[in-house]
């Protein structure tokens, strides 16, 4: 399962990196809360499109019924994501991307800490594997910093709100690193990633909606009244669609690799985000040789880091400590160890298999929303390289096909 987890982690990076691309087409005066709400509404809608075809609602609801006690855990994960995402906007505003990005990218180190303390990850691992994971993660963080700097043009002074911005970025790191505790807990308890994502998106949507109501003008907020919103919703929904596919792969990576290895691999999304920015939107067109060198160095270091983490295959001793975390869950919640073990190993026979007619209705409704928004969308006048749009979109489809095929063949998406 290690290879499948690595594949999913890298696939998550490709998709999560691309999720930013559609949002670049949105040029509006809406607040960070409003942008976050629109994108998360897209995530929620997209959850009921392609993923519903993968595993019908009957199977998802049967899994949720068997794991009712984990529903609060999935909701808190969505709440953490929503607040962290909004904090990043404040961080960029107050200290700029160059300082904010490296800070919140340390979430992988927070994740490794929680993985070790709460789930026994890397406990009993060989010194070589521990070194590979730690150094690989540091390399990915370092590379992300280089790639982040390569996109900075000019700089600027943000000194007046520096402390607030740094706190916001550090807070986002803490929240995004901690968010993986619920992810991992769900999987050592035998929950299916698609069921987890279903509840996760509800937690996300509820939180951003509450944030808009509480902090962005309540029912008078511009997002509910501005006529401009209708023209740009499609692009934010598209970003949400791409994000949710990436998140599903990220969930499977966390399930089959653990937090410590899963987060660094999906954090390679920075490389793909930069690829979209530079190749499609020409963001590095006027970059000097220093910036271009940062891109090359950052990309090479990130690939080496991902390689180090990918090759740190858990040994029997490490599996022994992971086994203890499964036993802990079974003991604490009176779960059937055999069922949990088979679900964790991707061998579960899902209850309520097959798709129903209402699944098709749900998918049709979700696709209908996208088509309706697409008809209202205003095509931006932004210059784009359509050849690279085709190449990178092709890579997206290819990565999804490879990861999807691997998950289907080995686990039937369990």
């Amino acid at each position: 399962m290690h290879g499948l987890g690595v594949l999913c982690g890298l696939g998550a990076g490709v998709w999560l990196g691309a999720a930013e691309a559609p949002t670049k087409l949105v040029n509006t005066g809406l607040s960070p809360f409003a942008i976050s709400l629109c994108m998360v509404a897209g995530v929620f809608t997209a959850r009921w499109s392609l993923p519903t075809l993968v595993k019908g609602t009957r199977s998802v609801f049967a899994d949720l019924a068997a794991n009712r006690h984990l529903i609060p855990t999935a909701i808190i994960a969505g709440m953490l994501w929503a607040v962290a995402n909004t904090l990043t906007v404040f961080a960029i505003r107050d200290v700029g991307l160059a300082i904010a990005f490296p800070l919140w990218n340390t979430n992988s180190l927070v994740g490794i800490f929680w993985g070790r303390v709460l789930f026994g990850e890397l406990k009993g691992a060989s010194a070589k594997n521990i070194a590979k994971v730690l150094l690989g993660t540091l390399a990915i963080v370092g590379a992300a910093i280089m790639l982040g700097f390569s996109t900075i043009q000019g700089g600027g002074s943000h000194a007046s709100h520096a402390l607030g911005g740094i706190l916001a970025a550090a807070g986002a790191s803490l929240l995004w690193g901690t968010m993986y505790i619920p992810y991992r807990k769900a999987y050592v308890s035998g929950m299916n990633p698609l069921s987890f994502v279903t509840i996760f998106t509800i937690g996300e949507l509820g939180t951003v909606f509450a944030l808009v109501l509480a902090l962005d003008g309540g029912t008078q907020a511009a997002v509910f009244h501005s006529p401009e919103v209708g023209h740009m919703l499609f692009w934010l929904f598209l970003g949400g669609f791409v994000w949710v596919i990436g998140d599903i792969f990220q969930q499977f990576a966390t399930k089959y690799l653990g937090i410590g290895r899963g987060i660094p691999l999906s954090n390679t999304n920075q490389l793909w985000g930069l690829a979209w920015g530079a190749l499609v939107f020409g963001e590095l067109a006027h970059a000097d040789s220093t910036h271009r060198l940062l891109v090359v160095l950052g990309s090479v270091v990130m690939i080496l880091g991902a390689l180090a983490v990918s090759t740190a295959i858990a040994t029997e001793r490490e599996h022994g400590s992971i086994k203890q975390s499964l036993i802990r869950e079974c003991d604490r919640y009176a779960l059937d160890y055999d069922r949990v073990f088979h679900a964790y190993s991707g061998e579960a026979e899902a209850a309520g298999t097959g798709r129903s007619w209402w699944d098709l209705v749900i998918v049709a409704a979700a696709v209908g929303v996208f088509i309706w928004l697409g008809l209202k969308a205003r095509v931006p006048t932004l210059t784009m390289n359509y050849l690279w749009v085709a190449v990178l979109s092709g890579l997206l489809v290819l990565s999804a096909a490879v990861c999807g095929w691997g998950l289907w063949k080995k686990t039937r998406f369990s």
Binding site: R68, H69, T73, L87, F90, I327, A334, Y337, F341
Partner: protein, 47 residues
């Protein structure tokens, strides 16, 4: 991959309410909840 174990968990049955109470007092839930509170407080302060 993790191998199956011969030893069974000590508890065999729990009501859904007991499970829910156990979740809400579990460090796996409490730590994310506390961190969420910290994040929310930070967000309100910065707003």
């Amino acid at each position: 991959m993790v191998a199956p174990v011969a030893c069974a968990p000590t508890r065999t049955t729990m009501t859904e309410f007991e499970k829910l109470r156990s979740v809400l007092t579990d460090s796996h839930f409490l730590i994310p909840l506390i961190v969420f509170g910290i994040g929310l407080a930070l967000l309100i302060t910065l707003h």
